[in-house]
């Protein structure tokens, strides 16, 4: 084996990805060659440095933000799927009516029997402890059929058991805030999400919190309800402007289909730029694009103003 061949194999020798024959040839050459030995040592040092760097951990705040945004998207998608499934079920109920009625009647009987059995015979699942309500009322929800065909005498489905609880406390209470933050992201009812944002907002002004801000950002970008999105955006606009909020405003401005929400975003952006938030080249290009393509006169006018005043 000559020098060049040996040097080309160094990384793969260190990866332990050489076959036994090549490995032997390589090691034989290294034993008798000072030049290649020192080259091998330098690669070992390099790999050790890289290995050290690869152990660095991810910033938990960045991970949380990424997860919150993704969760917002997934929840919005789930809602869309549930809605389209409901429509499909409604339409299909007009077809196959006789068979469907018989099957669903029987299935309902089995479901009722099974749920009764589960509610009265299984221990209640441990839930969030708030210490405010000890009632053991359990609700069954989100029943999803895996096998809804009763013809073989068996059906299979999944469901969730939910225990009711109650909480009363100060809006600044951390536990209470955590539950409301969860509700903003996960509650199906848009009214509940709106109420939660309003309560969070009351606390947020006094004491801004990164997790809540990230939640508001995720909701402003991805919630499927325009009313909830605009409330989240209004809450964000009340906070001291920073890079994250600016990026959210630009994202909403470029992607939201509701003109009202885009107006809220561009107003927020105008205020942010007045308070000294830096607009980079990419932001200015986005605004220039808005001047060209947005259908709303006010948004085009505001975009022009921001660029002019910047």
């Amino acid at each position: 084996m000559n020098h060049n061949e040996c040097k080309e194999l160094i990384p793969f020798y260190l990866y332990e990805e050489l076959d036994s024959e090549r490995k032997k040839l390589f090691e034989d050459h290294i034993k008798s060659c000072k030049d290649c030995t020192s080259e091998l040592e330098s690669y070992k040092n390099l790999f050790a440095d890289i290995s050290e760097d690869s152990k660095s951990s991810i910033d938990p705040k960045l991970l949380l933000e990424a997860r919150l945004e993704l969760r917002g998207f997934l929840r919005a998608q789930q809602n869309k799927v549930s809605f389209s499934n409901n429509i499909k079920d409604f339409i299909s109920s007009f077809f196959y009516k006789p068979v469907g009625l018989a099957a669903s009647g029987f299935a309902l009987f089995l479901v009722g029997w099974f749920l009764g059995y589960m509610v009265f015979n299984t221990p209640v699942i441990e839930n969030i402890k708030t210490g405010s309500d000890n009632s053991n009322q359990v609700r069954i929800q989100n029943i999803n059929f895996i096998d809804s065909d009763p013809s073989d005498g068996e059906v299979e489905f999944t469901f969730e058991t939910v225990q009711s609880d109650r909480m009363k406390g100060n809006v600044n209470d951390i536990e209470l805030q955590k539950i409301l933050t969860y509700a903003v992201l996960n509650e199906q009812n848009p009214g509940t999400r709106l109420n939660s944002i309003n309560v969070i907002n009351a606390n947020q002004i006094q004491k801004p919190d990164d997790e809540i801000k990230s939640t508001l950002i995720a909701v402003a970008k991805f919630d499927n309800n325009p009313g909830v999105r605009i409330e989240a955006l209004k809450s964000l606009n009340k906070l001291p402007a920073d890079e994250e909020i600016k990026n959210t405003l630009i994202y909403v401005l470029l992607n939201d289909t509701s003109a009202g929400i885009r107006i809220e975003a561009i107003n927020g952006l105008a205020n942010a730029s007045k308070t000294g938030i830096n607009l980079n080249q990419k932001d200015l290009t986005s605004l220039r694009d808005k001047i060209q393509i947005d259908k709303n006169n006010y948004i085009r006018f505001q975009a022009k103003n921001i660029i002019k005043e910047y």
Partner: protein, 189 residues
């Protein structure tokens, strides 16, 4: 006992959102870390993270169980990373012509290369490695990150990047050579 990836996929495909989230949270740190190392920018890394998992969500139903979920996930991640850079044109540190040759290496004068003894480990190394990574082409960088930061075998990387093993070896060889020279240069300056 924790469910396997395949069990979680089956549950997720049956509409179980909790299973989907559990599956995502098993690997999302690795995806985010890879994206961050690849782009060097936290906003870009978050965009890649979103795009990767949105693609996973949309195509999970078509997952064939022929490979490991992680292999499939990193195939998506490498596609998104490479096309992300191409899409936004931010990758301006490397020459498109140096993908498969050592032109960059030969352009560096001999006297700029330090002796092996001068390779020093210090606290600034992470930053210097990031700078050096910016000199790699997207394919070289992705192969390098999958090898050195995620610890995959060349065969697995080839499967993830949909290339032959020989091609990955070429990418890795060039990546390591460039990084070595770039780091030596950085230390000198």
């Amino acid at each position: 006992m924790a469910l396997s990836d395949n069990e979680l996929i089956i549950n997720a495909n049956n509409g179980d959102v909790i299973a989907l989230e559990e599956l995502i949270y098993r690997y999302d740190k690795m995806v985010l870390r890879l994206a961050l190392k690849y782009t060097g920018d936290s906003d870009d890394a978050k965009d890649i993270y979103q795009e990767v998992f949105i693609r996973v969500y949309k195509s999970l139903a078509s997952f064939q169980f022929k490979s490991e979920f992680s292999t499939w996930l990193f195939r998506i991640t490498s596609n998104v990373c490479i096309s992300f850079k191409r899409k936004y044109g931010k990758q301006n540190h490397f020459s498109l012509n140096d993908e498969d040759n050592s032109g960059y290496i030969s352009a560096i004068p001999e006297d700029e290369v330090l002796s092996p003894d001068n390779l020093v480990v210090n606290a600034e190394h992470g930053e210097k490695i990031n700078e050096a990574l910016n000199t790699l082409s997207p394919n070289q960088k992705m192969s390098f990150l999958l090898k050195h930061y995620e610890g995959y075998k060349i065969r697995e990387i080839a499967e993830m990047m949909n290339c032959k093993e020989g091609t990955i070896k070429k990418y890795l060889f060039e990546a390591v050579r460039k990084l070595k020279i770039q780091l030596e240069k950085n230390y000198e300056s």
